[in-house]
Amino acid sequence: MLVYIVRRLLWLPLLLLLVGLITFALGLYGPGDPVQVMLGPHANPEAVARVRYELGLDRPFFVQYVDYIWKALRGDLGESLQYRGQPVGRLIASPLWVSVQLNGVALALGLVVGIPLGVIAALRRNTWLDYLTVSGVVAGISLPTFVIAPIVMWFLAFRFRLLPTGGWEGVFSQRIIMPVIVLSTGPIAVFVRQTRASVLEVMGQDYVRTARAKGLRERMVIVRHVLRNALIPIFTIMGLMMGSLVTGTFVTETIFGIPGIGRLGVESFFSRDYPVIIALTLLVASSYTLVNLLVDTGYRFLDPRIRYE
């Protein structure tokens, strides 16, 4: 067990080195010169050369990369090109907190709505309630974020003028309602589908029949025997969901004008602000890996039958 965790953790730095290398290479060989973007299209070539020299962008690829890693190890992620002189670490910190809050609320809503709906659909299998839920799930999975967002906006902000169109004022402001609706649609659908499927599977197990046979009340059977076993796969799904949440964040934050890392990422991409892009990629890659490690090891405590080689 411990060996397994250590081995996975040892892989992490190597993974980050490689992710950094690839992003670095894409950045260096990618289109558009960040310095040109920074100084405008009519900047004089001498000024461009001087800024390139000041930023160390004229050095060979590997020298720049090793230098970057060396500084990153000491917590210095470089300076943003777009906002000159701003350290990347500080630039990312507050958007990161915004995105974590937004996604946290969306994920929580997904769990709170998705799991009960999935249980109900499974218990009322093949009734109109089940069919309605399942069709809703299909719609939720198929509808891309950038299609849901304008529909929600059109109804809530334009047609009925219930909510402001965007911006960010923290978790407890009404501005969070629309982005959360948009972001949580996918998770809700996935949780409902998974819960429904695993509840149905567990209901067919022998121990559920035994529990019923010994005269346990139906409510107890569901809560104690069915749910406890059915919810284990949900845990795995949560780890895998991080990827789609990150993609959703890019779209949602751009549309609703929320100052999170998604919007920062898109913005940095268009101004070729590579220090920020690399830092964001490393951040997402490491959190994705860590979350999945957490899920894989946590799994064992939930389901003692699982062993690791």
């Binding site: 892989w11 993974l15 490689l18 992710v19 690839i22 992003t23 894409l26 950045g27 060989y29 990618g30 289109p31 299909v138 719609a139 999975i141 198929s142 509808l143 891309p144 950038f146 299609v147 304008p150 529909i151 906006m153 059109w154 334009f158 990827g243 990150v246 993609t247 890019f250 779209v251 751009t254 549309i255 990422g265 898109v266 991409f269 892009i277 964001l280 990629t281 997402v284 890659a285 994705y288 890996t289």
Partner: protein, 318 residues
């Protein structure tokens, strides 16, 4: 299947057996009504894409600056966009872009995934470790961000390369260089999933007796992989391909939504949404924005159900 060759006595009989196989497959498949609906929608997309020039009432690039952002009318059933282009025609032409990108990106991803997955699963050891770590690496990247970076990096190179070949300027001008860029970027993102799937299949099949028999008869590793392992691993791969096509359509639309994928005037559903986005308050917005959006959504939906139906029909054991 290789281990069931004994009954075949003549070509006639083999053909009859094949026909019976298809019939059984169709009977199982058509039991799932949603899957049939999915198949119909997917068929409709291919039909529309192939016959777009005859189906579309207008050209996809013809602008009419006296009729911009119009509500639906008899003349323009789905209204016009910000340059007065007929929305219905662009939607129809968008199907052509989709039927080029979706199969191509899926196919390239599939071939790479099959190759890598089969090698990893069959050879095992260091090769397996190396290939799977590479797949892990690409998984750790936020998928969309990686596709965006790849697309942006290779875009100018692909265009320059196509121009240098000669005779392809028209191709580049018509916007098909971007189509190629999107195909490359999406298959780069897509292959690791396929490789994992194939590897898992191969690992479990490798221990089967018919593989041992083939090896005992002196078949080369390539023969074993190509003739014995891959055909038997095909069912889940077919399902994954169907679902993957839906994913590619969605990913293309997302790339285009950020203005990095297909750019106008080349018609693409994603870029139609992107173009009309700033007009979301306009009275025509529901039609301009929702029409391409719902087309994308219903295709993702169709491919998912098609995949489910294929899964049930090809793997009756489950």
């Amino acid at each position: 299947m290789p281990q069931e060759g004994k009954k075949v006595s003549g070509m006639e009989e083999a053909r009859a057996a094949r026909q019976r196989g298809w019939l059984v497959f169709w009977r199982r498949f058509s039991r799932n009504r949603l899957a049939v609906v999915g198949l119909f929608i997917v068929g409709l997309m291919f039909f529309t894409g192939i016959f777009a020039p005859w189906l579309a009432p207008y050209s996809y690039r013809e602008t009419d600056l006296e009729a911009v952002e119009e509500m639906p009318s008899w003349k323009h059933p789905l209204g016009t966009d910000e340059l007065g282009r007929d929305q219905l025609s662009r939607l129809i032409w968008g199907a052509r872009t989709a039927i080029i990108i979706a199969p191509a990106a899926t196919l390239v991803g599939l071939l790479l995934g099959l190759l890598m997955g089969a090698l990893a699963g069959y050879i095992g050891g260091r090769v397996d470790g190396l290939i799977m770590r590479l797949a892990d690496l690409l998984f750790a990247f936020p998928g969309l961000l990686f596709a965006i970076l790849v697309a942006a990096t290779i875009q100018p190179r692909v265009e320059a390369w196509l121009k240098s070949i000669g005779g392809l300027e028209g191709f580049v001008k018509a916007g098909y260089a971007q189509v190629l860029v999107v195909i490359i970027a999406l298959s780069a993102v897509g292959w690791p999933g396929m490789a994992r799937l194939v590897r898992g299949q191969i690992l479990s099949l490798k221990e089967e007796q018919f593989v041992e028999a083939a090896r005992a008869l002196g078949a080369s590793p390539w023969q074993i992989i190509w003739r014995h392992l891959l055909p038997n691993a095909l069912a889940p791969v077919v399902v994954a391909v169907s679902m993957g096509m839906g994913g590619v359509i969605l990913a293309e639309a997302t790339l285009s939504f950020f203005g990095i994928g297909i750019r106008p005037p080349t018609p693409s559903w994603g870029s139609m949404i992107y173009d009309n986005y700033s007009f979301w308050r306009h009275p025509a917005a529901p039609v301009l924005l929702w029409a391409p959006g719902l087309v994308v959504a219903s295709l993702v939906f169709a491919f998912n159900f098609l995949g489910d139906g294929l899964n049930e029909a090809l793997r009756p054991g489950l």
